[in-house]
Amino acid sequence: MKIKTRFNITVVLFSGIIAGVLIFLATTDNHVKKTSEQDELAKNISQGAIELSYLANDYLIHREDRQIERWRASFARFSARIAGLRPETANEKLLVKNMVASVRQLEMTFNDVLSGVQKSRTNQGDDYLFSELFSVSSSRLAVQTQGLFSDSQRLSRQIRSRLDRLANIRTFLVYAILFLFAIFLLANYILTYRRTMRSVAALRAGMKIIGEGDLDYKMKREWDDELGEVAEAVNQTTAELKKVTASKTELQKEIIERKQAEEAVRKSEEKYRLLFENMTEMFQILEPIFGNKGTATDFRYVEINRASERLVGKTRKEIEGKRAKELWGIVEEYWLEMLEKVLKTGEPVHMENYSRELNKYYDLYAWKANESRVAIIFSDISERKRAEEALRITADELAATNKELESFSYSVSHDLRAPLRAIKSFSDILLEDYSDILNQDGADLLKRIGTSTNRMSAIIDDMLSLAKISRESMNSQEIDLRSIADAVVNDLRESEPERTVEITIARALPAFADARLMHIALMNLIGNAWKYTGKNPTACLDIGMMTKENENVFFIQDNGAGFDMSLAHKLFQPFHRLHTDSQFSGTGIGLAIVNKIVQRHGGRIWAESEIGKGSTFYFILAGPGGSKR
């Protein structure tokens, strides 16, 4: 039960008892008052009886009519008083009844006296009669009034005793109620006090624990009352507090993080500032100004760095906040278009720009700095541009030279070959048509002319093809060198079917290269191996690939004549031969061509050899994207 309920019950009970006592006192008081009035009435009746007795005697003595009136008036009051009596007990009722009867007799007696007096007046002088009447009547009246007097006295006593009894009962009842009430209060007090004190003590202990920081502590609900509710409330508050405390910790963490972030931003800003100020490139922040049609018509310099000041030749004060047209009088259209594009698309622009005023080339990178501004970094590429220009001129010159060389080559092929052909043909004709008149020596000399012209023709052909290799366009793709090697080997076998050469070709030789050029290269390399094993009856060729430091190294190995490694550096130079023509024929161009082809693929070539044991040629081709053309 809740304290409030108990409290209410106590108050209601208390009020009820007080009200009961008050009502009881009020009612009994009224009763006492009425009873006292009756007592007073009874006393008055006693006096009235004496008064009536006196007045009757007085009349009997004086016999004046005025005295009759007085008696009757007194009697009327007397009768009224008797009528006012409200007897309660049986005795009282009997007494009152007697008194009413006595009053009636008294009136009759007085009336008898009056008629006796009248008679005596008519019979004047009959004193005797009167004295007789007088003595009889007065005694009768005296007896009757006396009776009334004593009756009223008895009534009064009776009423008073009743009054005393009533007073006693009242006093007793009041004491009894007060006593019971005191006991109730005491019991209530003890019970409430104990429960409240226990709950309060539990609360206080709990609060102390919570106060010491244990926010997980849960209060026990001792009773199902307000203090229990308080315990519950404290539990809830503790839970809330715990949340708040937790979020407070988080908040603190957040504050620290934010401070760190702010510090980082500040540092970053500082770094940016330093960079902005000290970078050698021009850095400008521009704000395009849009015209009525929504296109940029001008721009304003928002911020420029020190490099810009230096290069533009104006101070920041002179530039910042100014419009380009104000400063320069004119703004180039493409420049405005670029700014507009960056701002509208949000995509950065990278372009080259030439400033006529500064006679400088810039590589500029522009990006959207915010909703209305564009940031631009200008790298001075004038040097590079000039170098490029020089390079372009050189390249043009080179192209021109190449063209000349081409026409020269053409001329060589045609013009040199024509007389050569004539010499050769004439000697052929001589040998054929005049053999009958030529002696052995003459014929031999003509044959030597033929051989020489053949060699010279071969040299011209090789020279031309070397020149061609450098000029020709390349079309590199994923190819298998094995199929090319197969084709080359087949051609060789067909050209000299009488030779038995054991040739091993790796199953796959993947490469990223130009197939046509690689055909020429392999033709030369395998052809060399074929040629230089010509004097070995058990010729052996091995064509394969190995991987070294993540690179595919192709190799062509033979067990042929070999060469002196100390001369290896001359191997790939054009027209340099390590063998005499009588040993092995050749023009000395083949390996130069191979070297050129490998170089054009961004690779390199080298060889290992030992005289009499054979040679191995190795080459590497750069992969896709790695070739330098």
């Binding site: 070959r417 050769k424 043909s425 052929d428």
Partner: protein, 135 residues
């Protein structure tokens, strides 16, 4: 000039070359008449004159008008366009061969260093394109 003998026009600026070609032709077909022009204009003059021309042997590298230009000229002439033109060149460049065929050449033969080889290739051409009236 006897009308019935088949005429062959050699267009080449090199004397030796003309000499060798003529010699080879004489060997192959002694009855034919080989005329030589040493440049474009000369060739055009002769083309107008020769009335029983059956074959043209054309070099590419010529002073002034080039061989391909002469070929184009011939192919534009109603009277000449059916006469087979054989390009005879010392060039072995793919570009020259291709251009020749595109311009309407019947065959491309290489000026071989070896005279008998050259004679052989010329023999094939003559056998294929020359109307042999006398034999």
């Amino acid at each position: 000039m006897p009308k019935d003998f088949p005429q062959i026009l050699i267009v080449d600026d090199d004397n030796d070359c003309v000499f060798l070609t003529k010699r080879a032709l004489r060997k192959i077909r002694p009855s034919c008449i080989a005329e030589a022009a040493y440049d474009g204009n000369h060739a055009i003059d002769l083309l107008a004159k020769l009335d029983s021309l059956q074959l043209i042997l054309l070099d590419l590298k010529l002073p002034g008008m080039g061989g391909i230009e002469i070929l184009h000229f011939i192919k534009k002439q109603e009277r000449l366009k059916r006469i087979p033109v054989i390009v005879v060149s010392s060039s072995s460049m793919e570009k020259d061969i291709q251009e020749s065929y595109e311009a309407g050449a019947a065959k491309f033969i290489h000026k071989s260093l070896n005279f008998s080889e050259f004679t052989k290739s010329l023999q094939t051409v003559v056998d294929t394109y020359l109307n042999d009236t006398i034999g």
